[in-house]
Symmetry: C2
Subunit: 154 residues, 2 copies
């Protein structure tokens, strides 16, 4: 029980997750640094790349990001010419996103750097363990979490 006090370790699932995210984030960021991209930006470019000209809402949903947060995160990438947006043909509310040629090249460049970090990391914990961890995390992300009876519909 005393481990509650152990510096840096918490029973809080959220705190533990964030703590590790900071750690791993720095590692991947360091690896990607030569490309000028941050881990988040890399992930975003990748997601856009594998989705065909996705709508912003679709990206936000896939990455479990707030739509407005996505908009903000996208700005530097648009500014730097890696990404461009265009209106959907059928629904003028919808804004679609795609990589520019420069963005695709930058992504290709970053993938090489990312691979090194990814391999380095998996060399430490094992490819199997990494896959298992990702599966667990994806499972958690898919949970339909709800606070208990927010509205007593009596």
């Amino acid at each position: 029980m005393t481990d509650l006090q152990q510096p840096g370790f918490s029973r809080c699932n959220n705190a533990t997750l964030r703590r590790t995210a900071r750690r791993l984030g720095r590692f991947y960021d360091e690896a990607l640094a030569p490309s000028g991209l941050k881990g988040t930006q890399f992930g975003l470019l990748f997601q856009i790349s594998v989705s065909g000209e996705p709508a912003m809402g679709a990206i936000a949903e896939a990455l479990i990001m707030d739509l407005s947060a996505l908009g903000h995160t996208l700005k530097p990438l648009v500014r730097d010419g890696y990404v461009e947006t265009f209106p959907d043909k059928d629904d003028r509310r919808v804004k679609r996103v795609r990589l520019t040629p420069v963005g695709q090249a930058k992504l290709d460049e970053a993938i090489k750097l990312w691979s090194v970090a990814q391999q380095q990391f998996e060399a430490r914990i094992g490819t199997e363990q990494a896959a298992k961890l990702r599966a667990t995390l994806d499972g958690v992300a898919a949970l339909d979490l709800e606070m208990p009876a927010a509205a007593p519909s009596r």
Copy 2:
């Protein structure tokens, strides 16, 4: 192999971790909302609480946070009177931190809210699984990650 394309799922350990962190973060934030604290602030107050008047560097290390990031994150808590700082007696470079009575009360209040979220979450994935996940995450956070031979000392 085609799962590389699955929307929202990535082989990138970092992206997966961040994605889940966003998801879980929102859940805990929602639970803590009535207290006015965010999950991060809660975790920070808690860490300060269980460490005896820790130095900023100690907190940063425990939470694997950048020291300057900690300083920034601490500001709103100081501003709101939950936390106060004071210089170390022996080393004037060191700044120590502690909760104010108001801060302690706020933490107590938040712990009640946090417990609900924590229980709700563990009711979904199981207490055992949650503990296992935290252990894995703590293990990852403890890894001595390094990029391969940055300097080809050949």
